[in-house]
């Protein structure tokens, strides 16, 4: 199986026209022809790092504050899950826990693993890496749920002295975490796994 790159050809990522790799622009849609994004792993790691740094205050700072009868009650992400558990809303607690805790942390691990694998000189199982990348791209955006929960509660629960919800500063770094981890996953081109596909096991003492 030959790849387009090996034949000196490149695929336009938008209109899927095959052109010589030295063509600067796609003749059909005029998009820039990039055989493989240079320094793409640096981009992946840069976005990944920003997301990770933002994830610390996102978890430590309250994402919202409920004020009932004059008493304020700040809530962090994990605190919000516990409140739902206390009210026996187990399903919703599960949704928030998965979207806000499981997905972001799993995503950091997954993208990091993929980026390390992509930096190796040879890849034995590109289809597995490729599948992980697809899942990360598909699922990652759903972490935004908690940001929208805060947005709706803040806008909706404005009942004067009875109950009010105020946004907590933690919601902004959390939104940044989601956005930058999406950018990080998007910067990774799964074709690099296949470029380095080499099914042969290493020979003897070569290592």
């Amino acid at each position: 199986m030959r790849s387009a790159a090996e034949e000196g050809l490149a695929l336009c990522r938008y209109c899927r026209t095959v052109v010589p790799a030295d063509e600067p622009r796609c003749p059909v849609c005029h998009d820039r022809i990039v055989l493989r994004q240079p320094r793409q792993l640096q981009r992946v790691w840069a976005f990944w790092l920003v997301a990770l740094i933002a994830y610390v205050p996102a978890n430590l700072l309250p994402i919202m504050e409920t004020v009932t009868l004059g008493r304020g009650d700040p809530q962090t992400i994990i605190g919000g899950v516990f409140v739902l558990l206390e009210h026996h809303d187990y399903f919703i607690a599960g949704v928030v826990f998965v979207a806000s805790i499981i997905i972001p942390t799993a995503k950091f691990g997954a993208i990091g693993w993929l980026a390390i694998a992509a930096a190796r000189t040879r890849v034995r199982h590109p289809e597995g890496l490729h599948r992980v990348h697809r899942v990360v791209e598909l699922v990652g955006r759903w972490s935004m749920i908690d940001v929208f929960v805060v947005a709706v509660l803040v806008a909706l629960v404005q009942l004067g002295a009875v109950a009010q919800v105020r946004p907590g500063v933690g919601v902004l770094p959390f939104a940044l975490t989601v956005i930058f981890s999406m950018l990080s996953a998007g910067a990774l081109d799964p074709r690099v796994f296949w470029d380095k596909f080499d099914p042969e096991p290493l020979q003897g003492s070569a290592v």
Binding site: M1, L11, P20, V28, V147, V149, V154, A155
Partner: protein, 208 residues
Amino acid sequence: MVTADGRERLDLLACPACDALHSRPALDEGEVAHCVRCHAVILARKHRSVDRVVPAAAAALLAYLVAVTFPFVGVSEAGLANQISVIDAVVALAEGRLGLLAVVLGVFTLAFPLWMIVSLLMVTVPIRLGRPAPRYAAAELKVVRRLAPWAMAEIFLVGTAVSLVKVAGLAHLSFGPAFLGLLATVVLLAMATVYLCEDTIWAAVRAR
């Protein structure tokens, strides 16, 4: 006008996911070609694509207008009530302590879905009317593809459902027509995106 010196290889197709080179298959409507190496879809020709994208996207636009003009959700307790439209929510957030939250909400749930719907219509309506692909078709198709992961109206709906559960113990809830409107927008936009046959449109762009 095609600037190419005819160097494009229309007889070939590379897998967008793994770059394996294939000869470009000639598909009939409704057929899908998969990569022989990684099984990703390399080419799909959808059945009566523009005939279905145009009504779905037009209905999505209508549903969107309902979603932004009518009341969305409301709460009431002890004689106090608050009912908001989605626009009210953005305005309330903008005036509040964290104005940036209004930007997040406005961009991801309001601006991007609308932009996608309009772009879909701009590309497909002229082709549906039997005209050649418009000059801007390539740019608008790229918009559709680029925005897809960032248009988050469906995530906003789930977020709304979660917040209503959180409020349920605190106050009485009410739903406005905009809630159904946004739900319909999400479903119809998803349908329009699925129906969209990019290959047909790009073929029309190439033929221009």
